[in-house]
């Protein structure tokens, strides 16, 4: 049987080869065929999950509740020291100095990344902004969010903090950060689906042991991770509860 691994579509493009290297490493370690499927959109990934086609997923925290509670997925590991944070930024020439300077009708550029968009919308709440009184511009990438701000096509943008940091110095100089989230507990988790849960302990052991040999270290480096750390079921439940409180 060939299993299927997928990665939340908000992965950073620089790490795409890293996921293929990881999959090759994992197949050798586990002695099983695993196909890596990278979906272009959350919608396409959700359709595959709904059809029970996924066995391993590096999941966006927004999807964790559905994966655990509806599809029987269990957590394995997360990257050490990495959490998803959001930034609200405007054009450097914008008169807005604070989120509360943004008024209803504001044009907001954002990607489809569900957890980042959720955190961004929460940071807009102090200005009485919500999905019903903003003009939301959906973009495929964070570079396109930045371009909308630079061209004056949007008044504010919601960024994954890591993606904002990765923008070129030239672009960043033309932008102004209004607010940066400091949540610290929302992050992507590698999860295992029902067809592989009987090998969960083995998988976890292999993943946690990666830094102990040169090949494992190299695979981690290609993913942009220092280290993978264990995620207990209760920690996963806590993050699901947290996301649930925010999604209101």
């Amino acid at each position: 049987m060939t299993y299927r691994l997928t990665v939340s579509p908000d992965f950073t493009p620089d790490h795409l080869p890293g996921w293929y290297i990881f999959n090759t490493w994992l197949q050798k370690q586990l002695g099983e065929g695993i196909h890596l499927e990278m979906y272009n959109s959350f919608q396409a990934q959700h359709e595959a999950i709904a059809k029970d086609q996924i066995d391993l997923i590096y999941a966006n925290p927004f999807d964790a509740a559905m994966l655990v509670r509806e599809k029987g997925f269990l957590p394995l590991v997360k990257a050490h020291g990495l959490s998803d944070e959001a930034i609200i930024a405007v054009n450097a020439e914008s008169p807005a100095k604070d989120v509360t300077d943004l008024a209803p009708g504001t044009r907001i550029a954002a990607t489809e990344d569900p957890d980042v968009r959720l955190m961004g919308m929460i940071m807009l709440e102090p200005a009485d902004l919500n999905s019903s009184n903003i003009d939301l511009h959906s973009c495929d990438t964070y570079v396109l969010v930045a371009k909308q701000l630079l061209r004056g096509e949007a008044d504010a943008g919601i960024f994954l903090a890591e993606a904002f940091d990765d923008l070129s110095g030239m672009i960043k100089k033309q932008l102004k950060v209004l607010v940066h989230s400091q949540i610290g507990v929302i992050q992507h988790v590698l999860m295992v689906g029902p067809r592989l849960t009987d090998r969960r302990d083995e998988l976890r052991h292999l993943l946690l042991a990666m830094p102990s040999d040169e090949k494992g270290q190299d695979v981690l480096k290609n993913l942009g991770f220092d280290l993978l750390i264990n995620v207990e079921d209760e920690e996963m439940e806590f993050m699901i509860d947290l996301m649930d409180t925010l999604n209101t």
Partner: protein, 158 residues
Amino acid sequence: MINDMKPEDIIGDYKEVMLDLYGGIKRLCLYSEVETPYPDGKLIVSTTDTNGIITHVNQSFVEMSGYTEEELINAPHSILRHPDMPAAAFKDLWDTVLRGEKWQGFVKNLRKDGGYYWVKATVIPNIRKGQIVGYTSVRRKPSRSKVEECIKLYPTLM
């Protein structure tokens, strides 16, 4: 465990009131008119057991409440109860979460130093294997217009 507030902890002029808290607890509260603004981009997170006793707090909770983590763990969550908050709001909170549902509202919280801060609070029951095992409360920055509405509304509910 919850103690009366102490004058030496209070910053600025203050008033005194004896509050009746959930569970038949009485607490002497000392409160001032000093507001601490909610910090941008942060969430205040805590969990309690089914009796509302704090079992976990994050760093933002510690910073905004003015208590140490040691003072907060095992204390009732009503350690934050401000005298300006109507009891009806907390009755509604408990009635809602005991039904297994999510509660949301705007809350004026009392700091250890007698000051206060406004939050938009969401409380959800932690359901594990079909049982409520505790509650998670997440507070975020409220809009000023909602706070102004509550400043007018809450005295009418006292």
